[in-house]
Subunit: 812 residues, 2 copies
């Protein structure tokens, strides 16, 4: 049970001793629901439920942002999606069109399942250990947010009655980003046993292939071609390359074996399989312990021998470090993370767990990407082909910028690395500057649906906005000089050329698709226009701050003056008669959606044609409402409430990107309990599989929404122009909440209860903040301020059949 | 040379004797340009030009609307597209999508090249006759608009020096719609020769397959599976079925042989080939003459034996009729057509020829379809997959309605036959009533691009408007009762449900694509809205006229009242400040297109992405300007001129559907010489291959534009509410024009010279007409009226690089 006020005293969770025992899976916690124990620092699943296999593979995924492993069993089966992913490693697939058009991408990129190093098969006497056979006496798996490991403990009786206990623990190292390690123990119960372990590197595993897309299936079916296989002692290496994308991947493994008595070991490596085989007779009461280290590397340019050397060197380092030290480093890394990013609440233990689960997975997605992207599903599954969307800059980076700023900077460096492709794409489409792709792995546009893809130009503004936010939050001048200015300038050039001034001098941006994908190819989407205005202004600021860089980019004073003019004259459609902003021009004149008729037919896009969705007032996901939060200084409080009251009842939240934004906006206009419900919908998206697709990967943006909902929603944190302000206020269900942030060199913690908020500087220089509009300087002495009370507000109704998700066992 | 005033006296071209001689190809006519002799009643091409093969195959195509034969050589090769098409006979192909969506068609229909009955191969001694080898001494082909035959005369010397003359004549019978006949003569020159003829029925001919679409290529490559092959005497039959669409086609042939002396004949039939072989030694001065009759039939339901019987019976009838009678019937049929439809001009002989060429091909496309569609390319080539678009109702039927009204009615009966599919499609897309497909062969939507496809709802209004026009022009009550009312009611139901009244009571139709395909998915397209208003009003009228039919369709008084309300409150966007209608809402606020930059990059859709075209003021084809003609009673003369002046300079005519509409509008507002140039662009679209794609088939709509430009353009004919009015006025290049029309039971001819117009009733009851606003009754006595003179107007400029096509040898 969490001490609700512990954040003011706790520093690190440095005691690692409790993690050394692989069997350290706690007893059942509070009301185990949806199969999970309720525990503030772990996610544990007990028992064997074949239907849950795919979901737990995603939920129990381990990643450091460079390597991702789905939470499959060591024994390889049962399995739904064996997934081993390397950030940026992809295969090409042809994109077919019934009717093609100029500028349509001819091929797309799709993440591939690379060589699997997770597999350690077990033969108990002459029977393969497989949870689908025999009897599973006891079985639990546990993802630990403080150790960063996936533990597993199984007591299994084979069909012929032999019982073994298997304990394993697996980590993807945060500190050594190319390394995966597994510790696997088997103990015979009640009798001596002959055991055989087979530890594999396995390429081209069979996968469930999509049956509706023959070209995608072809790209995913056995995508790797063997280039090298070798072994020696307890080590082996496999190198493969892809058929079309020209990428090479190397995986190497070695092992440490603890065996009571003698063991026969042999090793082989050939084509798609490398295998260490260990055969031993293990006395009851003893354990066979195998520690397996795997190193991964890939490259588009390095040769097979070079890649082989690279992974073998990494492996040597990992072996030299050893399991215990790797795990200790892992814990230390996470202690630091929780020190900077933890959120504690009182009043909803299940939500507490879900929030930490969320923060942990966002960290995993972004921690060590190092100039690589953060895909929409992280590295947890093959969903969305492994692509990165605007989710990253608009949902994930807001959290990382204030908690793991280095990771946010690395992601933006990846965007900068793809700037040449974005400029080429703009030129191909007849535009100036840079147009970033709607969906991609390495920077090339992979969307085969242009109304939601190419026309979704806000993605470029989102990137610029993330750059502006990052610069204000970090003062990272090296990034600004090396990447930031250029990104801002090229994106400003795009928007300045893309929009135009009409005959009345208003700057229009026509023919775009905003965040709401149920309204497409429209004029003057408020979100896009405000995001573009922000991007143009940030470019002007950056040019003035870094004149030398700007000169190199050929920016003239006339150009920046024009950018400012575009921003100042931006068209923001407003319906005077209805007293509300229009999501896009004419939106409030469109026909109403028949929510009664569409009850039970969600997501609408699977049951209605685009052309009917687009022409009616039905919204997939927060769009204008998101704008009132992100660009909140451009709206009055009355406008924000009018926007929420108008758009919330027509927003069906068919996207996991919706509830978290709406929660923040709801909290701001005083609908605190609705905000709480919406936050829960976002946070439980994956844990409770609300979209029925978690088995293909987690929704990283929705998980990052947990942080945003706490900090920007109930904490009321805003950062306009680098001024950090708060307006905290709790929903009725919570008694207490605290969160942590890094702002420039300062680390702060904000603790909120029903009547007061306390601000405390953990380290770094004093910082100016604001509490409900009153500015103050936070230095060593904590500041406690009263929270202005508001009358409970009655929120507008939700569309019929679209009520926010309510946990069945939780009383509203 | 045409007698410019002959129309007042000529009745039929009944003298058929001159057509009996196959060698009746006239001497060179006036300035042979673009390879064609200039001749008022024929299109002749001389010489052998391999590069022209594909084009002449289309230009010389023969069709009766049921069967279409491309103008290939009897000898089979050289060939680009051997095409034999049966109206409505198609194969299915999978439609692939990079990202699929609800309601996307899974498969499309594509026209197939069926069993080829044109082939008659010739062996001269031991060498195959092939124009690519040996020496072509003399070679001419001639499409005769009065005989409806394709004649050919070739004097050829084989590589080993043997010379033969080959004359052939081919027809696709207008009077016996399942019959094709060919008369083929070979005469040895200078010596006796052994000749062998092989007359084939040949299925699954090799075709040039598209290299960019493997699924289409797969559907087209050997699409037919043999079901039966049999032969007897000089006759043979082949029956095949398609692999996926489940259609069966039967082709049967028989022969009459005239041979001086003995000949060996043999026949075989097996799988994809049936062949009559004739071997004879032919003395010089004699001829070997083979007359070949081929009958076609196809069905989705009839059995193989039934289809076989059907074609054999048709063949028996054709043989009994014989070549001479078949040809005489053909001439008689065409005499009647020219009596009702001919247009004569003085001042531009090449245009005269092109106009008759155009009218002839439109007749061929529609004459005997009989409850089948009129595809965009007729049955002249595989272009557009053989699909029918809105072209038919909006461009082709206006001509047929007033010249071959039965053919117009048959086409609309085809639409009625597909009404169940259109209703199912509407239901699938969540709409009421009927939604007709954007492109189809048998009524199923085949468009894989929804913004131009599904959203192009005006196609349904176009069909309703064609029904309304047909009913007013024919008083065809049987059609009205059986088809017309139901079509109008279901289409009115669609639009009444599809649009909605906004809070100010205006009826809006949002999220559609109008005729201009460079602007898509927009709100309140004027063309669509006016077409829908017309459709709604015509439905009200039809319901009142046929109350019993309406009752059966469940039409209530409330429903028709609502339709009238929708029509009366239709939103018609108008830009007060610019003083011009908006093609769609906000259109005149969009960014300007950079015509300077796009010079030489036409068609724009191959060089610019949709998303950039859509968001700017650039127009592919007449849209608002077309509306000012079609719905001219809804605009003032000033509004029409403002519309033309605004839109003509931004319309790039990347569609062959543009110039003919713009010509009519230009003529109306007084830009007569520009109208003439635009008319020529439309009329020469195929003859001069202006879109560089005539080899895949003719542009039937552009050809029909010849009639519209003469009658509605320079004749100023309008038919609002059944009142036929004229406002004739000639461009400076023409001294004279006459045209003919059928209106209800009356046949009229209008002859226009520079100062007067003369109206004459050929037969039928007196009819009320109007001349430049003055009404009069036309009865037996011709009426001559003066033409009010106007000052020459200076038209607006054309976009740079988009000037109307000018024939290189013609002085403007």
């Amino acid at each position: 049970m969490v001490d609700p006020h512990s954040e003011l005293t706790h520093t690190t969770h440095g005691d690692t001793s409790s993690h050394a025992d692989l069997t350290n899976i706690p007893a059942h916690g509070l009301h185990p629901v949806h199969g999970f124990d309720v525990n503030p620092w772990q996610l544990c699943w007990r028992g064997m439920d074949i239907d849950m296999i795919g979901r737990t593979e995603s939920l129990f995924a381990l990643s450091n942002g460079h390597i991702g492993l789905r939470g499959t069993f060591e024994e390889g089966e049962p399995v739904e999606q064996p997934g081993t992913y390397l950030n940026g490693f992809y295969e090409l697939r042809g994109l077919p069109y019934a009717e093609s058009g100029y500028g349509y991408p001819e091929s797309g990129q799709t993440v591939v399942n690379v060589t699997d190093g997770k597999v350690i098969r077990l033969l108990v006497e002459d029977e393969p250990m497989d949870l689908r056979y025999g009897r599973t006496v006891d079985h639990a798996r546990c993802l630990d947010f403080r150790t960063g490991t996936l533990r597993r403990s199984t007591l299994w009786t084979s069909p012929t009655g032999r019982t073994v206990r298997i304990n394993s623990e697996r980590l993807v190292s945060f500190t050594k980003r190319t390394i995966v390690a597994t510790r696997y123990e088997v103990e015979p119960i009640g009798e001596d046993m002959k055991l055989v372990l087979q530890s594999d590197l396995l390429a081209n595993e069979p996968l469930p292939l999509p049956d509706n897309d023959p070209r995608l299936a072809a790209a995913l079916d056995s995508p790797l071609v063997s280039a090298l296989a070798d072994c020696d002692g307890n080590s082996a290496v496999l190198v493969h390359h892809t058929k079309r994308s020209g990428l090479t991947v190397a995986a190497a493994m070695n092992h440490e074996l603890e065996v009571p008595g003698n063991a026969d070991t042999s090793i082989r490596a050939d084509g798609d399989l490398a295998r260490l085989t260990v055969a031993a007779t293990v006395p009851q009461g003893s354990k066979l312990v195998l520690t397996k280290f795997v190193a991964y590397g890939w490259s588009a340019r390095r040769s097979v021998p070079a890649l082989r050397s690279q992974v073998e060197a990494a492996l040597a380092m990992a072996a030299e470090t050893g399991w215990d030290a790797l795990k200790a480093e892992q814990i230390e890394f996470l202690d630091e993370f929780w020190r900077d990013a933890d959120i504690e609440i009182d009043g909803d233990p299940e939500l507490q767990q879900a929030i930490r689960f969320s923060l942990f997975h966002v960290l995993q997605a972004g921690a060590r990407g190092q100039s690589r992207s953060i895909p929409a599903k992280g590295l947890t599954g093959p969903g969305y082909d492994g692509h990165t969307f605007w989710d990253t800059e608009s949902f994930v980076l807001p959290m990382l910028t204030y908690t793991v700023p280095g990771a946010a900077g690395e992601e933006l460096r990846w965007r900068h690395n793809t700037l040449d492709k974005a400029k080429a794409r703009a030129a191909e489409l007849g535009q100036q500057g840079a147009m970033f792709p709607w969906r991609t792995i390495d920077g090339d546009e992979c969307s085969g649906y242009w109304p939601a893809g190419t026309a979704g130009v806000h993605v470029s503004a989102d990137i610029a906005n993330a750059v502006g936010r990052y610069l204000r939050a970090t003062n990272d001048e090296a990034f600004e000089v090396e990447c930031g200015v250029e990104l801002l300038v090229e994106i400003a050039r795009f928007f300045a050329g893309f929009g135009h001034h009409d005959r009345n001098g208003k700057f229009r941006i026509d023919g775009v698709t905003g965040p709401d994908e149920y309204t497409a190819v429209i004029n003057n989407n408020v979100f896009t226009n405000l995001a573009a205005a922000q991007a143009l202004r940030d470019a002007v600021t950056a040019v003035h701050r870094q004149p030398a860089v700007a000169r190199e980019l050929g920016v003239s004073p006339e150009e920046t003056t024009y950018w400012a003019t575009c921003a100042d004259n931006m068209t923001i459609p407003y319906d005077e008669e209805a007293g509300v902003h229009q999501q896009c021009e004419a939106f409030t004149l469109l026909d109403e959606w028949d929510f009664e008729a569409s009850r039970g037919r969600y997501p609408l896009l699977l049951n209605y044609p685009y052309f009917d969705l687009y022409r009616k007032q039905v919204v997939k996901q927060a769009d204008l409402v998101f704008a009132t939060y992100l660009f909140g200084d451009q709206f009055t409080p009355e406008e924000k409430r009018a926007a929420f009251d108008y758009y919330y009842p027509i927003t069906v939240r068919d996207s996991s990107l919706s509830a978290c934004c709406e929660a923040v906006a709801a909290a701001e206009v005083g609908y605190l309990d609705l905000a709480y419900e919406l936050m829960c919908e976002s946070v439980f998206t994956d844990l409770h599989d609300l979209h029925n697709n978690v088995s293909s990967g987690l929704h990283i943006a929705a998980l990052a929404g947990a942080w945003t909902d706490c900090v920007a929603g109930f904490g009321g944190m805003r950062d306009f122009g680098g001024n950090i302000t708060f307006a905290p206020r709790l929903p009725s269900r919570l008694n207490y909440m605290s969160f942590r942030m890094i702002v420039r060199e300062s680390r702060i913690v904000v603790a909120i209860d029903r009547d007061t908020a306390t601000y405390r500087l953990l380290d770094g220089p004093p910082i100016e903040l604001a509490h409900h509009g009153t500015r103050f300087i936070l230095s060593d002495k904590p500041v406690t301020e009263p929270i202005p009370q508001i009358v409970d507000q009655v929120p507008p109704p939700t569309p019929e059949g679209c009520e926010p998700y309510r946990r069945p066992h939780v009383t509203p």
